[in-house]
Structure formats: structure tokens, C-alpha cells
């Protein structure tokens, strides 16, 4: 009987959603927009195919009088980037963000042994130094390539999921309450937990489909890094969806005013957007900010997804994130059902 009631509410919500053309159009258009914006932003239109960083010396005169290096710098299709520190740029070599780092004064250079671009640029460097007094000295660095694109994709998918979960569920419930739809349901044997479960299920399958399509679309246009299991990633995103939907449910549990709901949903979505590491890493940020970020569900979704996609982590390695998402979802749902008000 419980599932029959949940099924009735699930069907009704889906019917309403698919017949509301403006909401449906927006749900389809936004992901398409995201795919095209990213496809455009990350399509390489720069003819410079290689990136070489060189350490800038205070003694510019000596650099100018370095014929083999000047000859190397004259090579076309290489972007030369002046840098000051070795350590920070070694990390970029490890992640293939630059192909070669060279100190022109000592002719010492660093390349990643797994980078094809590094291999080619090294050949060009050695060619430039033929017959030079000083032979370049090679230092090998390990590490697989991680482009910003690879790093940002999990965040973008999770962010889209967050907007869909919070606003898609929060606004609907507040609107139902304001209109009196919930009051009518209260007069039936439907219980709050049944109503909330139906709302979660209705939003969940929609978000899962939309985000799967975004993932496939982005993969088609961008060819980003995916080292882990698709099943594991699906599980992470599904748990993330549930957790974020439960956040929306909690916000909407008592409010009957759309303006207040909008304010509260923004209050939790914007900090998540900036502090959960969607666009940039919080490494080096103030410790309290990092602590705060660690309580946000989106942080765990993004970190778990990145570990699976970039590092090829399995479920065991992301189990701490999954546990946080499961516990948070249960807590939010129970609190939401407890404080839920039909009117």
C-alpha cells in the first residue's frame, strides 16, 4: 500500500514535469548549453602545440647571450612561459600541464618520461644545443597528465546536479504548499515520508538521466580523463543526487513562501558552488574554510568523482566520501520528514 501511494505521487509529479513545457525545455536546454560552452572553451584553437617554461634569471644579459637557448626559443609552435620557481612548475610537468621546464643558466631541464609532447620538445631542445659548449642536462619527472578540463569536468557535472536537486525539489514543494496541494494530500492516508520519498525518486531519475547525457555529451566533444569504473562513478553521482535532493527537501520542509525559499536555497548553493572545489582547488586556503568545505555534500561528491575519474580510485578508496553522503542523506531525510509541514 505504501509503495502504491508513493508510485501514485511519483507518476503525478513526473506527469506534471513533462507537461510543463517551460520547465522541461529549461532542463534539457541547460545541459546542452553546458556541453557547448565547455566544448567551445576547451577546444584548442591555439597553433602553439607545446608549452615550455623557462626559469627567469635576474641577469637578463646572460640569457640574451645564450645562443643555443635563443635558437631553441626561435622554434615555432612552442609557447615559452617565463617562470620563477622550479618546485611549483615540476608539479605542472608531472600533470603534463607544461611539456618541459628549463633553466637556461645551467642548461638543466625537466621532462615527464610519459609525456609525448615532452619527448618531442626534448628532441628540439637537443637539436638547438648541437655544437654548443654546454650540453643540456636531463632530469626525469613521473606523473600522468591532468588537464584543467579533466579536473573541472566532475565539478561541472556535480554543480549541474546541485542546481537541479536543490531548486528542482525545493521550489516544487514550496509551490505545492502555497497552492494548497499539500493540504489536500494531508487529508488522504499519505504520510510525509511517502510524499518525500516519491519526490526524491521523481527528481532522482530525472537528474541521473540528465547528468548521464551531459557526461556522454561532454565525452563526445571533449574526450576527458576517465580512469575509474563507470559503475563506481554512477554510484557516487547517484548518492550525491540523493544527498543534494535531501538538502532541498529540508529547506522546503516548512517554508510556504517562494521568496524565502529562493533566498535559503541560494544561501546554501552559492557557498557550495565556490567552496566545494567546482572551479578551483581550496589547497592553500584558510584552514577554517577547508573545514567548512568538508561539511558540504558537494565537496564529497566532487572529491569522490575526481578520485575515480582522474586517479582511477575504486569504491574502497572513496568510501569515506560515500559514507558521508549516505549518513548526511539519511539525517536530512529524517529531519525533513520530522519537521515537514503540509501547510
Amino acid at each position: 500500500m505504501i509503495w502504491k501511494r508513493i508510485y501514485a505521487l511519483f507518476v503525478a509529479r513526473n506527469t506534471e514535469f513533462f507537461r510543463d513545457r517551460s520547465a522541461l525545455a529549461w532542463s534539457i536546454l541547460l545541459p546542452i548549453l553546458i556541453i557547448f560552452v565547455f566544448a567551445y572553451a576547451f577546444t584548442d584553437k591555439n597553433p602553439e602545440k607545446f608549452k615550455v617554461a623557462y626559469l627567469v634569471s635576474e641577469d637578463i644579459v646572460r640569457e640574451k647571450n645564450n645562443p643555443p637557448f635563443e635558437k631553441f626559443m626561435a622554434t615555432r609552435y612552442i609557447q615559452f612561459i617565463p617562470v620563477e620557481m622550479v618546485d611549483t612548475n615540476l608539479r605542472k610537468i608531472e600533470r603534463h600541464q607544461i611539456d618541459l621546464l628549463i633553466d637556461p643558466q645551467t642548461s638543466r631541464y625537466w621532462i615527464n618520461q610519459t609525456s609525448p609532447n615532452g619527448y618531442i620538445v626534448e628532441k628540439l631542445l637537443i637539436a638547438a644545443y648541437v655544437n654548443a659548449v654546454q650540453t643540456p642536462i636531463q632530469t626525469m619527472v613521473d606523473g600522468d597528465q591532468v588537464r584543467y578540463l579533466d579536473w573541472v569536468i566532475p565539478g561541472v557535472i556535480a554543480m549541474n546536479m546541485m542546481w537541479g536537486a536543490l531548486f528542482g525539489i525545493g521550489f516544487v514543494i514550496v509551490r505545492y504548499r502555497k497552492m494548497g496541494v499539500l493540504k489536500r494530500l494531508r487529508a488522504t492516508p499519505v504520510k510525509p515520508i511517502e510524499f518525500l520519498t516519491a519526490q526524491i525518486m521523481s527528481r532522482l531519475w530525472l537528474l541521473v538521466i540528465v547528468n548521464t547525457l551531459i557526461f556522454i555529451g561532454m565525452d563526445f566533444f571533449l574526450d576527458f580523463r576517465m580512469h575509474g569504473s563507470y559503475v563506481d562513478l554512477f554510484l557516487v553521482f547517484t548518492l550525491g543526487c540523493i544527498c543534494l535532493i535531501c538538502c532541498g527537501l529540508l529547506i522546503a520542509a516548512r517554508i510556504s513562501n517562494e521568496e524565502v525559499a529562493n533566498g535559503m536555497l541560494n544561501l546554501i548553493s552559492w557557498p557550495m558552488m565556490f567552496l566545494s572545489g567546482v572551479w578551483f582547488s581550496l589547497e592553500g586556503a584558510h584552514p577554517w574554510m577547508q573545514k567548512f568545505a568538508s561539511i558540504l555534500p558537494l565537496t564529497h561528491v566532487i572529491e569522490a568523482a575526481r578520485e575515480i575519474m582522474i586517479d582511477g580510485a575504486g569504491l574502497a578508496q572513496v568510501s569515506d566520501h560515500l559514507l558521508v553522503l549516505i549518513v548526511t542523506s539519511i539525517l536530512l531525510l529524517l529531519i525533513g520528514a520530522k519537521i515537514f509541514r503540509w501547510e
Binding site: 502504491k4 501514485a8 503525478a12 506534471e16 507537461r19 505545492y176 496541494v181 489536500r184 487529508a187 488522504t188
Partner: protein, 294 residues
């Protein structure tokens, strides 16, 4: 008749406002009870407490001797004063949705036929007229074959045809054995449909009995009714204590002959004179006063 719903010492407060103040009464199975009262008297709050929609501050309500619980939810049909339905859903889908909430349900095809929903069965519920929507809401309230039906101002805003059509349907429901609790502002409606009437004011029940019993208990006089322009207020109010409403002067008297004689002596035209027994509206105004309520 057995008691189906028992209300004991019911109190509901909203901050400093006591909307329902120590209300007690019983509803017998198979009866139709009308709850009347001016705006703000506490009717809707009382009926919502009885529906289990609101929680009382004090007092108790029992359904068949038990507190309102799952049994009550399964067996009660409710039609609110203002009900919004989910958008983008057709009449048929709405009936199917509500039928899935209950363990025992009415035949949807029969409900569609009984409440004349065929012609707009596949129409979006947002596009229904007032009368069509009320018929659908009544059908939804009956989807679980309720033993007790709550109707909160079911005919407010309907045209006379739709109102009378709804009365017919309520009579049919009653004939089928359901208990009905009805709130209304229309005295004629209450008189036509209800076996018992409870009049509320300031959160209390001030009169409760069968309509004719109430009228007999409160009145032993009749009303002589004239056109307003036939008897000027100067004469009407001063000589006869007449009240003026809806273009008519109403003179309450226990001696019709003496009143008519007096009117003739004053040369008041009697071409439009009517003599009528006191009705529920008179009783309602007598008990609750004539001052406007918000």
C-alpha cells in the same frame, strides 16, 4: 443512531486568538450536520480540527470511539473550501492518483458518470470552470467511498444551477448512508440538506438542533414583509421596529391582524405585502447579530 464522531471540549488557539473555544458535540452516523456561523466564527478551524488537518490546543475528537488515525484517514472524504490540484494533470489522472491512496475505492467510471465528468475527463484541471471543479473535488472526496464526508462551503461561488446540482448530489450521498458535515453561508442550503444545525459564533456553538426545532424554540411570531419604498423608515422603524434588508422592510409580530390593521390606518400600501414564517436567516441574525464581520 450510533455516534460516529465525538467532539469533546475542543479548543484551538492561534497566539492570543482563541478560534475554537470549548466546543463539544456529537455527530450521528448517517446524519447531515450543518455548521453555520458568520465569517471568523471558527467554522473552518472547527471542521479542519475534525478532519485532522489541524491539531487541537486542547480537547479530543474520536471517530467510532478511537482517536483520529489511519482508519479515519481511510474512511473520511474531504472537500476543502479552497483546494488546489496539481497542475498539468487531467481530471481522469487526478481521480486515478487519489484512488491509489486508499485501500478501498469507488468505481471511477461510476463516479465520472454520477458527477457528469465525462465531457472534460481528459482536460487539464486548470481549465475547469468553477462548477466543473467543484464536481471533480466532490468526486475526489468520494473516491474512497467515505463513511464520513466533510464539505466546507461546497457551493460558495457557484451559480444557482450548479448549486442546486450539488445539492442533489449531496442528497444522493446521504441516501447511500454516508454521514455529512457541511459548513455553509447559505441558510437555504443548510435548511434543505441538514438534519441538524449547529450555529457558531466567537469560537463557540450557540445553538444546535434540528432546523425546525431550533426555529420553533426561538420564534413564536411571523414576519410581515413590505417593499422598502411602501413604508418609510421613519414610520417603519419607529412604529413597528421594522428592519430593512434586500429592498424590503421586515416587521416581526406575533399578532398579524393588529399589525395589518395598524398599517391600513397609516395608509401604507399593502399590494406587495407578504406574511412568512421566521426562517433560518432570521434565527442566524438574531443569534449572531447584524454587525458586519471581517
Amino acid at each position: 443512531m450510533s455516534i460516529i464522531l465525538q467532539v469533546s471540549n475542543l479548543v484551538k488557539r492561534f497566539g492570543d486568538l482563541t478560534a475554537v473555544n470549548d466546543v463539544s458535540f456529537n455527530i450521528h452516523a448517517g446524519s447531515c450536520v450543518g455548521l453555520l456561523g458568520p465569517n471568523g466564527a471558527g467554522k473552518t478551524t472547527t471542521i479542519e480540527l475534525m478532519e485532522g488537518i489541524k491539531t487541537p490546543t486542547a480537547g479530543s475528537i474520536t471517530y467510532n470511539g478511537e482517536p483520529l488515525g489511519q482508519n479515519f484517514r481511510n474512511e473520511a472524504g474531504i472537500m476543502f473550501q479552497n483546494t488546489a490540484l496539481q497542475e498539468f494533470v487531467t481530471v481522469r489522472e487526478m481521480l486515478v492518483q487519489f484512488s491509489r491512496f486508499y485501500p478501498k475505492t469507488a468505481n471511477i467510471e461510476q463516479l465520472v458518470k454520477d458527477y457528469s465528468l465525462e465531457e472534460f475527463l481528459h482536460q487539464d484541471t486548470r481549465k475547469l470552470s468553477g462548477g466543473q471543479k467543484q464536481r471533480l473535488l466532490l468526486a475526489i472526496a468520494l473516491i474512497n467511498q467515505p463513511k464520513i464526508l466533510f464539505l466546507d462551503e461546497p457551493t460558495t461561488g457557484l451559480d444557482p444551477q450548479s448549486r442546486r446540482n450539488l445539492w442533489e448530489q449531496v442528497r444522493r450521498i446521504k441516501e447511500n448512508g454516508a454521514t455529512i458535515l457541511l459548513t455553509t453561508h447559505y441558510m437555504e442550503e443548510a435548511y434543505e440538506l441538514c438534519d441538524e444545525i449547529a450555529i457558531m459564533d466567537h469560537g463557540k456553538i450557540i445553538a444546535h438542533d434540528a432546523p425546525d426545532v431550533l426555529l420553533a424554540r426561538h420564534f413564536n411570531d411571523v414576519v410581515v414583509q413590505l417593499r422598502e419604498q411602501d413604508i418609510l423608515p421613519v414610520i417603519g422603524k419607529e412604529t413597528f421596529g421594522a428592519t430593512y434588508r434586500n429592498g424590503s422592510a421586515h416587521i416581526v409580530t406575533s399578532d398579524v391582524n393588529a399589525t395589518v390593521e395598524q398599517l391600513l390606518q397609516l395608509k401604507v400600501p399593502l399590494a406587495h405585502l407578504r406574511i412568512r414564517a421566521r426562517d433560518l436567516e432570521d434565527l442566524f441574525l438574531d443569534l449572531t447579530g447584524k454587525a458586519l464581520r471581517s
